[in-house]
């Protein structure tokens, strides 16, 4: 199978998954919306009747008839009279078109769920991409270092760090960082929400200042795992024959490691990088909530607390989309860098 066909296959697969996730979401939430809408309609109609009775004293309109008429109007307005299947389908199509509907309360100055996500997404990308780049750089550097001398003090320290951080909840570590550096020592602001009165350069400085603590948290929790994985990949590569040959030829050790071994180990590392860059957005949902960083994770938290189902549906959709994009990119990068995978993939088709 050629690269083009492989790409087409992966894209088709991802589109199918996206569709099914959205369908599942719609099935769940059309049902959930029914309950909330029904009670909302009942409240509205009751209020309408009260207002009517107040403004038209002595009117001969029958209460039950009035309520029945208004109920019908609203049920028709919200489309509750359509069959369940139709509404699920409509919701699915709408969601796929990024039309998530309105939230009940204003968030970030608007009630349009897609608009809110559009404001939050760049902020999340800013924070996590910065952090992830630092993690990757430190991780690869330390991983290579410890692979050079397996069993050394550096190597052992990294293994221990990797084991501890793998079991550390990132968001809890964030709480501890706030406790120490924002509360006790007051070195950094407690709240990561940027100051709205600042503009221009002052605003950029303010945002960067508020990013320090979350970035340190993310880097601390993630770099150990990266270093550990890089180390294991590198150790595997270092035992290959061509490294032996390069050394026997008298190639300098630096060049052997960075020129030969690291290049051969590149495919899995690049895959990890792509996954890290796009995929970490989903993994750090709660960390944002802890730091009050106004991105996607914070939105999840707000949506959960205010029970904004439209926003939850929208966020889940965007996360799925990002996640699938990362999967495809990682897959393609892997296939591009390591032709064996492509052959393997086509062989199993």
């Amino acid at each position: 199978m050629g690269f083009g066909r492989y790409l087409a296959y992966r894209l088709f697969n991802a589109a199918l998954i996206l569709f099914f996730v959205v369908l599942l979401t719609s099935i769940l939430f059309v049902k959930l919306a029914d309950v909330t809408l029904q009670s909302q309609i009942q409240e509205t109609v009751q209020a309408e009747w009260n207002a009517y009775a107040q403004h038209h004293p002595g009117s001969n309109v029958n209460q039950s008839e009035f309520i029945k008429k208004r109920m019908e109007y609203w049920i028709n307005y919200y489309g509750l009279n359509k069959p369940y299947r139709t509404r699920v389908w409509q919701t699915t199509i709408k969601t796929l078109k990024f039309d998530f509907g309105q939230t009940r309360q204003t968030i970030f100055g608007t009630r349009d769920a897609s608009e809110i996500i559009k404001i939050a997404l760049p902020r999340t990308i800013l924070l996590f991409t910065t952090a992830q780049i630092i993690v990757i750089l430190i991780g690869i550097l330390l991983g290579v270092k410890s692979a050079q001398k397996p069993g050394s003090t550096v190597d052992r320290t990294i293994s221990v760090l990797a084991m501890i951080t793998a079991s550390l909840p990132m968001w809890w570590f964030g709480m501890v960082m706030i406790l120490i550096f924002a509360f006790k020592l007051s070195w950094f602001p407690v709240n990561s929400f940027p100051d709205p009165t600042l503009t221009g350069l002052a605003h950029i400085k303010d945002v960067m200042w508020r990013m320090v603590l979350p970035v340190i948290t993310i880097v601390t929790v993630l770099f150990g795992g990266w270093a550990w994985t890089t180390r294991n990949i590198m150790i595997g590569t270092m035992q290959e024959d061509f490294i032996m040959a390069a050394r026997a030829k008298g190639v300098p050790e630096r060049k052997v490691i960075y020129g030969h071994a690291l290049r051969a180990a590149a495919p899995p590392i690049v895959t990890m990088t792509i996954f890290g860059l796009l995929g970490s957005l989903g993994g750090a949902i709660i960390t944002e909530a802890v730091f009050n960083w106004p991105g996607m994770g914070r939105l999840y938290w707000i949506a959960l607390q205010q029970n904004e189902t439209t926003l939850i549906v929208g966020l889940t959709y965007i996360f799925t989309l990002l996640y699938l994009t990362a999967m495809i990119l990682a897959d393609l990068a892997y296939a591009f860098l390591d032709p064996r995978v492509k052959v393997g993939a086509s062989a199993s088709m």
């Binding site: 996730v21 793998a166 079991s167 501890v176 406790l179 294991n232 802890v290």
Partner: protein
Amino acid sequence: MRWVDLKDSMKSFWNDFRREKSGMFGLLLLILLLFTALSAPFITSPDIPHKWKTYWLENPQNAPPAWINYFSSTKKAPHVIYTYHDLHITESKDQFGNTVYSFEIPYKYQYDEPVDDIVIFKLLSNASSPMDAPHISIALKRPVQNGYSRVVPLLIDEPVSSNATIQLSTNTQVRKNVINWLKQNKVNIEPTLEFQLLATMDTMRYLFSQIQPNIQDMMNKPKPLHGTYILMVNVTSKPGISVNFNNIEIVFKGRTYGIMGTDDRGRDIWIGLIWGSRVSLAIGIAVALLSVLIGIFYGVTSAYLGGWKDEFLQRINEFVASIPTLPILILLGVYFGGHIMLWQLVLLLVAFGWVGISKVARSMALQIKEQTYIEAARALGAGTGRIVFKHMVPQLLPYAFAQIALGVPGAILSEASLSFLGLGDPSQITWGQMLNEAQRAGAAVNGYWWEVIPPGLAITLVGLTFVLIGVALDKVLNPRLRRI
């Protein structure tokens, strides 16, 4: 496999495992954790899960652990409870034929910050109407200052209904009495300030500090008066009304509490930590075990069947693997009415957890499938089920053990994350929920470190335990990794 072979292989496995220092350390931690989880009802009390969601009135709120006094320059009063057995109750009759019960509690005060409150619980009587209610008088005898030892009347002949909670610190009558006593001792109090004090006074601070001529000094720069205080209590009951002291509790609410302090509802964090270990271990082990078992059977079956069946099973696998777990779990949590019950969570985590393992299991099974003995078994007429269960899966068991251990931390983190978001099972005590409540109450921002650090450390510790065991098992059982 014969019994002797099994015993031999177990022995050699144990010999290898024993050499892994980190693995042994993990095993030790695991035994400790299991012990804690199993003995939780015995070292605390079995009604804790029922009691956990209520307010623990008898405890102080947001109190740090008692041992911080060793590290701090200002010593804070610890929590003390007096029960029936600590009291020497004397009974006498007054001239009207009423019964007078009286007792005294000596309290040695040597701290810089006094108790938060003095509370009397469960003073029971059989009075049916408020008219018959026994009357209580409480006074505090202070140690000698400037040659005088002063008695402060706190409550004078106040009617007390059966089982009422008497909180002295916030009681308006007590505040009035204390202000009068201060005035009698020539403390200068302006009328506007007096009005304010009646509403907001931290009564205990005045009772346990030296008298200064200006109230402002006593408010802002209190000097503790050390020595032995005596709390004097008199309960007078009419003839025919009996007072029961058997369950009485007189609590000197500390500014510190126990081993780990309390949270904003006065709950003992240490007890929460102990009980939380049950959910963590149960979820972690259940999820890891089930997902690994399912993953291995799925992968092996897929590899053995081959052809279009393999293709089909692999497409399902890819589909599940492509779904981002946490957002979907959040979504389902909302759908389930804002809470995911423990068993639902286990099922959901298993539903998303088996895919990674099944991929690896399949690739391993593809190699095993080519071995001649599988061919032989097939030639002898063994069915698919028999070959998969009897000949292929056992080959993968070593890998499975390591994967089970390595899968536990992920499940524990997922549960903690969902609980932290407030989607956890409300009928359980979990560390994630403790952190969620701490976050809601602003513990990190207020500096209540004892509400934030211990639950997170506990999560990390359980995770680390299984990572240590898993990595050690991987090294021992997985020959591919031995060379590293």
